[in-house]
Symmetry: D2
Subunit: 254 residues, 4 copies
Amino acid sequence: MIQLTLIQLDNYGPWTELLGVDRESDLQILQADIYADLQRMFALERGLVFFNRFDNMLAVSNGMSIKEHEVILRSVARRYPVSISMGIGSAESPFEAQVLATKALQNSGSAQSETRKSIVAHRTDSNSGKAYVQIAHIDINGFTLHVTDRESAYQSTYLIYSSTAVLMRMFADKGALLFFNGGDNFVSVCNGLNKSDFEEIFNRFETSMNMNLKAGIGFGKNALDALSRANEGLSLIRDKKTDEVIILNEEEML
Amino acid sequence: MIQLTLIQLDNYGPWTELLGVDRESDLQILQADIYADLQRMFALERGLVFFNRFDNMLAVSNGMSIKEHEVILRSVARRYPVSISMGIGSAESPFEAQVLATKALQNSGSAQSETRKSIVAHRTDSNSGKAYVQIAHIDINGFTLHVTDRESAYQSTYLIYSSTAVLMRMFADKGALLFFNGGDNFVSVCNGLNKSDFEEIFNRFETSMNMNLKAGIGFGKNALDALSRANEGLSLIRDKKTDEVIILNEEEML
Amino acid sequence: MIQLTLIQLDNYGPWTELLGVDRESDLQILQADIYADLQRMFALERGLVFFNRFDNMLAVSNGMSIKEHEVILRSVARRYPVSISMGIGSAESPFEAQVLATKALQNSGSAQSETRKSIVAHRTDSNSGKAYVQIAHIDINGFTLHVTDRESAYQSTYLIYSSTAVLMRMFADKGALLFFNGGDNFVSVCNGLNKSDFEEIFNRFETSMNMNLKAGIGFGKNALDALSRANEGLSLIRDKKTDEVIILNEEEML
Amino acid sequence: MIQLTLIQLDNYGPWTELLGVDRESDLQILQADIYADLQRMFALERGLVFFNRFDNMLAVSNGMSIKEHEVILRSVARRYPVSISMGIGSAESPFEAQVLATKALQNSGSAQSETRKSIVAHRTDSNSGKAYVQIAHIDINGFTLHVTDRESAYQSTYLIYSSTAVLMRMFADKGALLFFNGGDNFVSVCNGLNKSDFEEIFNRFETSMNMNLKAGIGFGKNALDALSRANEGLSLIRDKKTDEVIILNEEEML
């Protein structure tokens, strides 16, 4: 079982319209500040937040209680001109967990409701499965050498966003989630996927995008433990201490 | 003529590897903090920064001098554990301007060079053309109602990233740039495009993605002036004060 | 028993000299950012940080383990150009606890040592006493009405800094600590003080400064619980629901 | 002539009461964030903000227009749950300038008014004098060696706050302003003071506090230029390249 949290800015679109037309730079600062802030607070509980669309963020929140979510929610409400609401979902697959998290929040009202505000929505389902997180840290081979240092900045970015869209679909097809994390880095929340799933995705990616991926995969009770294990694997590949391109760190498998 | 600035974190990838395996949340906070900070500083000079890939950001910097770039660069270097370098380019088309900005920086060394550090790279070309910025603020019709409030958060995000990749290509084909700005919002830096270019892109987008776009387009001496004009147009459409889906605010056309 | 943590920027003075002469605004931003960041991280563990001198901060850290301190220390080291070290001390009186925290850190090297870096220094004393925190939230009666709205901004500030110095000494004489927290607000960490201690201090303060104080005093297992209780008391006085000027909230006394 | 700006959080005290009793850590973060943010924005216009009491900040704003103040004010209003108002004053002496800045703001309403919000208050006086800023950067000799590394953290802080109060009064008596800037550093805005004024203050300080001060003093068209010159002088003393303890950098004297 994995627990995911959807974090949504309350009634954000209509609120931005109230700020006048010369607002965009302030909105960009605000969005980045809120994301950084949430990341800091979730990280102390060993969770991990993905910036996603900035007005809708997804977090792996295994082990975090409703109360811990509420503390974070209130801290944001006190320090920003917009409030946030959260939906929490748990399931065997990461994809299903985010579906449940989304439904919980949607059932509480629209993202542009004027009345839904500072809600933590969740099901009271007893989670019978064993809680764990499986995470992969993925990057593109030689991207700096072959792309960043050669192509235009926009072209490099285009390749990354295209890759993100392609990978998001491929991972979703297997019940996993894929997030772009900056640079040429992707993080997949991938409970239940095995090495051959990754090999299949990486092969299909190479065929369609003509670039090669590598990945470290880790397991843990929470997001940051799992990602740390994943990073250990990826470092082995980056440092050429292995010929594998997918290192599955089973040491901590639960 | 439009001036674009590429902002690149110096030797960022190798540096992150030095931080140990449990680093990801700190990197995410750092990246968002640096972006917010740059946005704040560029905005005071009426520039606009796009987060892009976070380790490589692009900014519209019309009217900003080399010295103003250096002040920002030094302020970052003093307050963060990583430094930034910048490349500046000017051209008639936004696409060409970012090509020149990228080349200027690439000529100074690799993004993963251990020696290139805190550089402002630029050509001394005299810019003979008239300086101006054309910007479009674009969003997807009814996205909250039809997608955010109905589909799973991941599916909504997938549609946005797919749309971004599709639009990035379409705008680049016309010499313009397209950036995802959070939510269902896109900003295009689009000097030289006319209304029919937008109609063509929006039609092709509708065909391939089955979603409809709307846009306000503005002109100005700098990024924020142009974007403010664009927002005026978009507000007219959002408030249903017009039946058009593309409002080109020619009032301030230079 | 109360646990206090001294947080010190490593070799900060000499480092600032390396930044060139036009550095002050960046240093002020950096100092405020680090403080805000530490506050956020300590708060999630129910601790409370006082900005103090900014390069030397004091925190009430009851219940926080060495490992939790180290997580915070590493997060700062990864995101700022300066690192921090910490000294932790526990004692019956807050004053003695900060003496022990300071000594632990001083024994590890000078504040301007080039080699002491990212240290968590602490004694291994078994703490036999019962852990609790007593905190008072204090403000000056009618300060906005009589001072902020009438006197010059500088004169108002002078009265606050003078008051702070006077109160710091009075509380220290009783083994307690007093911090200025912005506005006309003071927070005292005051394990062991009773209501008559406060009455005595407030009377002496009135005599020397010709201003009247009021306070809520609370108890708790950690800083934020104790301060919340203190705020409950202070609100009663501010809302004129009591004639007392010192409310000692014994409900939660341990 | 020097221009000073008083920045006041609107109706801050009553607002904080609405946040519930467990609010203090969030308020501390908020206050530090707003200060850092203002510093960043003023610095780009070569101004300098002093944190002062956090809910009331003072800035040297020479050369900054009303419009530039308004841009900053609006950016804060869009990104924080509290708004700010500003009063601007100009005079030959810094002390008089802050008196005028305060009066302008006080005339617009109380700091705790529910209706005064996002105001920029100023007189329309024509400033006939020549605009310049004189700033001194002051520190205490050997403070790290003799105090920080030897005394308890609280005792060190007590000495700094006592020194601040003493110096604030001494400088005010000469029409200048003195601010504590962290560590053992003070910044004085001191238009009109000459070297003998500093010698007199430093002698009186040594007599009353038994600690010795040193200072670099600089002049400039704006705060940061003047402070940079002051830092040049202080560096000479710190590096023992002079036997003087007060370096008045006349090179840039206007």
